[in-house]
Amino acid sequence: MNDFFLQTFWFVPFYGLIGAALTLPWSSGTIRRTGPRPGAYINLLMTFLAFVHGTVAFWQSWGQPTHQLVFHWFQAADLDLSLTVELSPVSLGAMELVTGICLLAQIYGLGYLEKDWALARFYGLMGFFEAALSGIAISDSLFLSYALLEMMTLSTYLLVGFWYAQPLVVKAAKDAFLTKRVGDLILLMGIVALSSYGAGLDFSELETWVETAPISTWTATWIGLALIAGPTGKCAQFPLNLWLDEAMEGPNPAGIIRNSVVVSMGAYVLIKLEPIFTLSPIASTVLIAIGSVTAVGASLMAIAQIDIKRALSHSTSAYLGLVFVAVGLGHVDIAFLLLFAHAIGKALMFMSIGSIILTTSNQNITEMGGLWSRMPATTTAFVVGGASLVAFLPMGIFWTMQRWMSGSWEISGGLLALLMLVNALTALNFTRVFRLVFLGDPHPKTRRTPEVAWPMAVPMVALTVVAVLVPAVPIRWSLWLSPIAPLENADLPLIRVAMPLLVLSGVVGCTIGAKLQLRRFWARPSDRTQRFFQDLLAYDFYIERVYELTVVWLVVTSSKLTSWFDRYVVDGAVNFVGLATLFSGQALKYNVSGQSQFYVLTILAGAGVLVLVAMGWLFGLQW
């Protein structure tokens, strides 16, 4: 009885699912005379139960050996698709993070969406989302993780499309789904291939399979690349990064989850797949390349954004880029810590900007200013969130970096340079946004800004406290996945200067951000070169245009061509040549309004004659 919660930890994802199902009477509009809030309360309750259940299980899991629960889901021929979940402090910890942030986001949503009559549908989707997320956290099966990733794709589509009547939402939801789906599908190709090469689809089985893998490096590379594609879409990495920007059209409570735990889940699966990337140096290199390009590119894009959500969401891509780099280098513990610290810091920042958006009915940071003294919780959340994401003050990311640079991992100059660049750019961006939004004189749209009510303030304050406590994690448990430190080379010169240099980069970023000339009220730079770069970054390097001119164009054109070919060539030719000549003239011009019995007879007779003729032919031959 004592470890009842531990034994039933696999049930945690079902709370969200049950909650989602129970909202149906309201979300489907069956209950119309009263409002949709019970749907929200039910989901809050279920998420709370999930959180409590997970917490108890998490504490009980300490000191317990890692073990798997296998559920044989589908067996046919010699294919055995089992859904395996893993009981370990890491998996339960990840689940805990998911349910915790979901719980906070759902309380937050009660305030943020208090005027929205589709509240029940929103909470139903959140419950579904939560179920998929917490499922991935404990999944030990690539197959199960894939299935859940697809469910996340679906719920992202539905959540981004929550305000379905808003034109940009329509496009955003579609793009989010299709972009993620591209990644998912390539991932599925990888899974199908892996499974066909005899690999079991459990992560733990994969690890042992890799040691004796019967495949060539060439195949391993292809499979590795295919497996990378899924997380690339999920984590909004180049070139599948645009959906996250567009997904900001969705409601903010979902944005909190999306920018913290949802993107993380893609990387979480990537971390679990890391053994496979060891088979192919090319796959590892590609991971590092994707991660670096995204980290730098997205950090640059963030700096040019004027939309408060987008200024932060691009930075999400950048941090996930760093996770990709860490996985590519094989530094899985660091990747894990990065995800953890980022999820908390980014969730906090999104809570903060949500309260700004709600109070000012505005997302344009050039129209804001002077919020700090009116909104203490919001301001504190932004500052703490920002500080814990930059290696500058001794908070979340600082300690993660410190672990990375502790000498246990092999660090190259290039990596350090990349981290410094991203750190400086992020610091610059956050400082810039902070100045625009919180400092200076109030602007017309920020003149009347009372602090938000408790449903939004409480989660914000609670997460602020958590963010302050987060550094304990990298300090105490820096090696979640590796039992022992891989390396001991703390006295390399590079290691010794690494942390000071990183902090320096943060200082430089903040200073530039503080000195930067701010543009207000839709103003655009007058200098042509400056404007070019501003636009280039603001419009995400025009990647969307590139998509339109390549992939989208290709699909649209080829489908039009095929359709034309179908209508005029295939249909025309087959119709005309094949058949029209056979049954030419009036023979088959039926007038259906006439006596139908006649036609039944005709056709029956026709068929009968056909059979008899054939029979005669047959027997003629036999005789």
């Binding site: 589709a118 929103f122 408060i308 129209e367 003294s373 749209k445 009372p450 602090e451 303030a457």
Partner: protein
């Protein structure tokens, strides 16, 4: 024949409505159906406003600077039955009242808006804050660190109270309109407008005041000496903020800064009740759904019968309510236009007519993109 003493027809795109107003008619076409719909909907609106108004005033008086106002919608009457109904969401959506209050607060305008920025207000607010949080070192420390946090909350409380007082008057006015209609005294739309106009004029200089009781002592927040009055300091800013400007609905407008869908200046906002599209009502991200939902419970039978006759029966009740509600709002707007006109609109004096014409055309400029053509269509 040159008639120098007759005003030329207006060349405004909405000239039809200018002429209508000049001849004593309303923005909404006069017809028995329209009268029935407008009076019926205003009756249910009156009932809802009554509830809103009581609650706003209750919150401003009893939930003053309460950080966890869990029972703010209970008007002080907390019991299990009510709690259960609250959880079941079988209640008035007071969130909508707060939404209107916040819109009014955010858009500003009028004497109240400038008064809450005066040092005098600051002093009064400070006194109330100190009284409320006496001995609470944490909150007072926070107050020191973020000096505008609590005063801003007090300002918001003032708006709670002011909007509550405004709606009190409006609610009574709509209820008496309904009573007069039931007695057969109201037959035409111009009569409806006249009733509203009379109500506005009668209470025009009613003072707007606000005081809270903290630990047995009364603290003035909006004293009588501030000289705030019903018409100019609540009615006019309310019409401006809620009828005209409003806030963009996330369900139809993108907040994306780079999409530039929301204007830079708040004065360019056209998301108010006179502009809103009724069709998306009931969907996601459309706050007025809450008002329509509240009104559906109080629709008089004669109006309900009209709604039931629609093709979708009661499936689209809230959209129908919104369409009717929009009609009634144009009547209220007509009353406001009439009340604020420089001269009586029926004047025969040419100069006065010309001044009125200019005044009306300024209004019509704002109404070009409104739903005025749709409600008459």
């Amino acid at each position: 024949m040159l008639s120098a003493d007759k005003i030329q027809p207006s060349k405004h795109p909405l000239a039809e409505y200018v002429h209508r107003l000049e001849s004593g008619e309303a923005l909404l076409k006069d017809s028995p159906e329209n009268v029935l719909e407008v009076v019926g909907i205003l009756k249910s609106y009156g009932i809802v406003l009554d509830a809103y108004s009581r609650n706003l005033i209750y919150i401003s008086k009893n939930q003053f600077l309460v950080f966890f106002p869990f029972f703010k919608y209970f008007n002080g009457d907390v019991n299990f039955q009510k709690l259960f109904r609250h959880w079941w969401h079988d209640r008035i959506n007071f969130e909508y009242a707060e939404y209107c209050m916040k819109a009014m607060f955010w858009h500003g305008g009028g004497g109240l808006d400038s008064y809450v920025d005066t040092p005098e207000f600051k002093q009064l607010a400070e006194a109330a804050i100190q009284a409320k949080f006496k001995n609470n070192i944490f909150i007072l420390g926070l107050h020191k660190l973020f000096p505008e946090f609590l005063p801003e909350q007090v300002r918001m409380m003032s708006y709670y109270s002011a909007l509550g007082q405004f709606w009190r008057v409006m609610s009574d006015m709509f209820m008496s309109l309904s009573d007069r209609y039931d007695r057969g005294e109201i037959k035409t739309i111009p009569q409806v407008v006249q009733h509203i106009l009379d109500g506005l004029v009668a209470d025009a200089s009613k003072p707007i005041t606000y005081a809270v009781k903290i630990k047995g002592k009364t603290y003035d927040i909006l004293p009588k000496s501030a000289g705030l009055t019903f018409l100019m300091d609540t009615a006019v800013p309310y019409v401006e903020a809620v009828f005209f400007r409003g806030t963009p609905f996330p369900g139809t407008i993108s907040y994306n800064a780079q999409a530039y869908q929301i204007p830079l200046y708040q004065s360019d906002f056209t998301y108010g009740a006179l502009y809103a599209d009724p069709l998306p009502i009931g969907g996601a991200g459309i706050p007025p759904t809450q008002l329509m939902q509240d009104m559906r419970h109080f629709i008089p039978e004669y109006l309900h019968a009209v709604f039931r006759k629609s093709k979708r029966n009661e499936d689209d009740l809230r959209v129908q309510i919104c369409q009717t509600f929009q009609k009634s709002m144009f009547c209220v707007t007509t009353a406001a236009i009439k009340g604020l006109a420089p001269y009586p609109l029926e004047t025969t004096d040419l100069e006065q007519q010309q001044a009125n014409r200019q005044y009306l055309e300024t209004w019509m400029n704002r109404l070009i993109t409104s739903r005025v053509e749709n409600v008459n269509g």
